[in-house]
């Protein structure tokens, strides 16, 4: 098999379209029974309530286990598979984010926001399949490798002061997980280009063609993520190889001219958009290496409830009749392209209305007839996204540069009330909230000062905290980690955690170049383990399931990140090192010299010595002078 594949790898290097297509046909014919490397590209577009648009690119590559395939890869990026093999990474997630996910208006309860809304900067966590004492070394190597791979300063995460070991609150709960964030990393195209290089078609063909840099970075939120799952090295027996999931989530403002006009006249009219107007580009056919290539348009539950589809009542029957005109030509909006399929969500427990997914196959389109989906709103519509049970925000308290306090406040959203009233049959309903907070060592947190406020009343900590795990920070060694499980009553309106800290003082070379800007405290992770963000869509053929939709079905707990805090720390005078050294050493010399002088001085002897010296001087100098004058005179006489 390996021998057969070699010429094909060469062909790949030549990279001509036709050859590739031939080869794929050949390969697929040859390896019918075996697992193959697969690649699929998908794009999900979703209108957001605040006149914005969410675009979620999902690229998934999978490689079969290396035992059956050797080290050769056709589609799967070799760099990633080498990384997995070398550091025995079981699971890993790396995200680069710029901007902050707006949980209030963009929602927090759907799979996209739970797993793709990330804290600003770089976030990296990894689970290793190595013995405990090797994990830190693996982590260090991994950070350096990723740093080289993605042109980012991930290598700053290698020092023990920056990463932490969550015990149980972090979702992939396991002792082998390491978690690190680097909030001040500036994310830009130099990080996107290497990320795109991992795709088989890069951004030259397929859906990735839409990734136009200026329009991406003009957005309000931009998060590129790389999720890696490997069963390669696991001892569990099920060996499904490596799955690499690359997602890019952007929130953009569609600014078509018509939208602006309408916007001026009517406030609630959503801007109409098309892919070409947002990204400035069109999709001209699929990436030939991709198994599936599709674009989805998601109308979420709130929007669907607002739109009032005519046959909403018998929605399931409509979903079966896929070409039901009612779904895509609605009195309130119009799609420019007819969808190939329409999926309707299976009834969920959390919400009455169901979301609708329109699917567009990109395969049908070509260079001559590019794919460009557009949505035109006819009537004004306003809706709300489904929110997290509690809205979390975090802020700093106190003034001055000596001490302060961090407060995490949880505010109930309207969603909770509805859900809770439906769910609390036995009356004693509890809402479980996990808080995971890492603080750098220079923010010296006093964990004993943790206080809980429920409904603005200070309460005993033990009443609401079910479980707490704390690892105090060590100076320049490890950050402080706090993991808390809160059990709040369902009818809670507000809850707050406060914890006090002292600000540390750093050495002059430990300050970043812009020291007066302040230091970032990474986001806290608030998760609700009793709530699962999943969307299950009715599908006919489960065989041909798209990776994006199967991802949506995963029951991941609802998670949200709080804001990054900026703590100003006291700075020394950066221009002073020489002055301080010299002044300090002068004072020491003064001390040493004067004390020694006092100790060795003997007054009487000194006087005697001085007198003797004076006597000698007065004795000798006149003598010499007289001698000299005598000589001069003598010589003078002789000459005369």
């Amino acid at each position: 098999m390996v021998l057969l594949q070699r010429p094909h790898i060469l062909l790949l290097l030549i990279d001509t379209h036709q050859f590739l297509q031939c080869w794929i046909a050949f390969g697929s014919a040859n390896e019918e029974g075996q697992q193959q490397e697969e690649f699929s590209e998908e794009l999900l577009v979703k209108p957001l309530p605040d006149h914005k648009l969410l675009a979620h690119f999902h690229f998934q590559s999978s490689a079969p286990p290396s035992t059956s395939n050797g080290c050769h890869h056709h589609l799967f990026p070799k760099a990633i598979s080498q990384l997995v093999q070398k550091f025995r990474v079981k699971e890993m997630e790396l995200s680069f984010t710029q901007g902050r996910w707006n949980y209030e208006s963009w929602g927090g309860f759907d799979p996209i926001s739970s797993s793709n809304a990330k804290p600003p900067g770089v976030e990296l966590w990894a689970v290793f399949d190595v013995p405990q004492h090797h994990i830190d070394a693996s982590w260090k190597n991994l950070t350096h490798t990723l740093s080289g791979l993605f042109c980012a300063s991930i290598n700053f995460l290698e020092s023990t002061a920056t990463y932490s070991t969550p015990e149980w609150s972090f979702p992939p709960a396991s002792g082998n997980v390491r978690y690190g964030t680097f909030p001040c990393e500036a994310v830009c195209t130099e990080n996107l280009t290497p990320w795109l290089r991992l795709l088989p078609c890069r951004d030259k063909a397929g859906i990735a063609l839409l990734l136009d840099r200026p329009s991406l970075y003009r957005g309000f939120y931009h998060s590129q993520r790389l999720h890696l799952t490997s069963t390669e090295s696991s001892s569990e027996g099920i060996d499904s190889g490596i799955i690499l999931e690359q997602t890019l989530t952007v929130v953009l403002q569609p600014n078509s001219e018509r939208a602006i006009e309408v916007h001026a006249s009517e406030k609630h009219v959503q801007p109409s958009w098309s892919l070409s107007s947002i990204f400035g580009k069109q999709v001209s056919g699929r990436c030939v290496l991709a198994k599936s290539s599709s674009v989805y348009l998601l109308l979420d539950r709130g929007l669907v409830a607002e739109l009032k589809f005519p046959n909403k009542e018998n929605g399931k029957s409509a979903a079966n009749g896929l070409t039901s005109e009612n779904f895509w030509s609605n009195p309130s909006f119009e799609l420019s392209v007819n969808p190939d399929r329409i999926f309707l969500e299976e009834s969920s427990s959390h919400s009455k209305s169901l979301s609708i997914l329109y699917m567009f196959q990109v395969e049908k389109y070509s260079e001559s007839e590019p794919f460009d989906i557009g949505l035109m709103w006819k009537v004004p519509v306003a809706w709300l996204c489904q929110q997290t049970p509690l809205h979390a925000s975090r802020f700093l308290m106190g003034s001055g540069n000596e001490r302060g306090a961090i407060a995490i406040s949880l505010k109930s959203t309207q969603f909770t009330e509805g859900f809770m009233s439906a769910n609390s049959k036995d009356g004693s309903c509890e809402l479980r909230v996990d808080v995971f907070q890492v603080v750098p060592w220079y923010v010296k947190v006093y964990f004993h000062s943790l206080r809980v406020f429920v409904d603005q009343q200070p309460r005993a900590v033990s009443d609401f905290i079910e479980k707490i795990h704390v690892s105090p920070s060590k100076d320049k060694m490890s950050p402080g980690v706090m993991e808390v499980v809160l059990k709040l009553p369902c009818r809670v309106n507000t809850a707050a955690l406060t914890i006090e800290f002292d600000k540390g003082f750093l050495r002059i070379d430990e300050y970043p170049p812009d020291a007066n800007q302040g230091f970032d405290i990474p986001s806290a992770i608030i998760s609700f383990p009793n709530f699962h963000a999943s969307m299950v869509f009715l599908e006919d053929d489960s065989l041909n399931r798209s990776p994006l939709l199967s991802k949506f079905q995963d029951k991941c707990p609802v998670m949200s990140y709080t804001e990054v805090l900026l703590v100003p720390l006291t700075t020394p005078d950066f221009s002073m090192p020489y002055n301080v050294s010299t002044i300090k050493c002068t004072v020491f010399a003064l001390y040493f010299g004067s004390l020694l002088n006092v100790l060795q001085r003997r007054v009487a002897e000194e006087e005697r010595f001085l007198k003797a010296k004076a006597a000698k001087k007065t004795g000798r100098l006149p003598l010499l002078l007289s001698k000299l004058s005598a000589k001069l005179r003598g010589s003078g006489i002789n000459q005369d």
Binding site: N401, F588, V598, V603
Partner: protein, 387 residues
């Protein structure tokens, strides 16, 4: 004494009213330690005064020096210790330095009144608490070996040579090793005891090595760079990483370098030697506090009679007042208001260090001059004298 106690207590109560957050229980302990320290200082001071008078008597200088004008140095020292604003601040701030100070005073008290187990206990506890009092072993050995402060032994010999009668009973005792060995034994016993107790209680936290690393190691490597009244924090915040170890060694060796010259010159005055060591430590230690200054200023009170001729005392007093007023202002400006700069506060710390240096140097010089004066009184002619 009683009046003193009530006065300080009043001050302390005033602060208590001002800051109701202070826990009464803790501060009472610290307050009691301060009072006990003051009582021990007073007892030691009286002891020293008696020894001094005795030695003057044996030198027949009682008339020349006017002993009737001698101040009660013990009372003065206790007064200084209790009324010192630094002590009050340390007490109100619930600093632990009063406890460290008491251990040091206990050690000196025990050595002066020849309670060898007590002296050993004080020394071991003081060393255990803050490491620097370890060097007090030298004055304690002198104290135990030759008794409390007295003029140099040579003076007695000269005096008796003048009289041409060698009265052994009037001479100060020669250095005797007995009590020193006794002290060493007790110190060993106490330190083993303390280490065993620490070892038992720290068994689950990494044992003794971890304790040494995070207490003495923390003191010696100056890891915490929070501003204090010393000068090392700013120095180590500013110095280049490359030179850090070098300067750590230099600054700590500076304390050790001065031990030997001082011990040679002041060996006949072990209590004064102890005072100088305490002052130097509180000046050069890694994390000094006002509590340390309170200790040596209190001990200074023992030597009011000897140091009556000290120079610059008004200047020093004004300097101390000025620095203790300016330093909180600068700290506030820098840390809380953000209008000042680290250099402002560092400048006051620098001035404070200089003041302490002047105090130590002038103090040592005044004490040596005092000995010279005594010698001159004995010999009558300053030219011939040799120390």
């Amino acid at each position: 004494m009683q009046d003193l106690c009530t006065m300080v207590h009043l001050c302390y109560c005033l602060f208590l009213v001002l800051s109701p957050l202070i826990e009464l229980k803790d501060s009472q302990i610290i307050f009691c330690t301060d009072v006990v320290s003051a009582m021990l200082i007073r007892a030691t001071g009286q002891n020293l005064r008696l020894a001094y008078l005795r030695s003057l008597e044996s030198l027949d200088l009682v008339k020349q020096i006017e002993v009737s004008e001698f101040l009660f140095s013990g009372d003065i020292a206790a007064l200084i210790y209790l009324c010192n604003p630094f002590t009050i601040v340390a007490c109100v701030g619930l600093s632990t330095s009063p406890i460290e100070n008491m251990a040091v005073i206990l050690c000196l008290y025990g050595a002066c009144s020849r309670l060898i187990p007590l002296a050993a206990f004080g020394w071991v506890i003081a060393t255990h608490l803050s490491l620097y009092p370890a060097i007090l072993i030298i004055p304690v050995i002198f104290l135990l070996g030759c008794g409390p402060d007295s003029p140099p032994r040579k003076l007695f010999l000269q005096r008796h040579q003048q009289k041409e009668v060698l009265n052994q009973s009037k001479l100060p005792p020669r250095f005797s090793w007995g009590p020193v060995i006794h002290f060493a034994f007790w110190a060993f016993l106490w330190s083993v005891y303390v280490l065993v107790l620490c070892g038992i209680s720290l068994k689950q936290f990494g044992g003794l090595w971890e304790m040494f690393k995070s207490t003495y190691g923390f003191i010696l490597t100056v890891e915490d760079l929070s501003p204090n009244i010393g000068v090392l924090w700013y120095f180590f915040a500013e110095v280049f990483e490359f030179f850090r170890n070098f300067f750590l060694i230099v600054f700590h060796v500076n304390i050790l370098f001065m031990i030997l010259p001082l011990a040679i010159r002041l060996r006949h005055r072990p209590c004064y030697l102890a005072f100088v060591y305490v002052a130097i430590c509180s000046m050069l230690k890694s994390y000094p506090s006002v509590g340390d200054s309170a200790l040596y200023l209190g001990l200074l009170g023992w030597f009011v009679n000897e140091l009556a001729d000290m120079q610059f005392s008004l200047f020093l007093f004004c300097g101390y007042v000025g620095v203790s007023l300016l330093s909180p202002v600068m700290h506030n400006l820098w840390i809380w208001r953000g209008t000042g700069n680290a250099n402002f506060y560092f400048a006051t710390a620098m001035v404070y260090a200089c003041l302490q240096i002047v105090l130590v140097v002038e103090g040592v010089s005044a004490m040596l001059n005092h000995d010279r004066k005594l010698r001159n009184l004995i010999t009558g002619k300053p030219q011939d004298a040799k120390s």
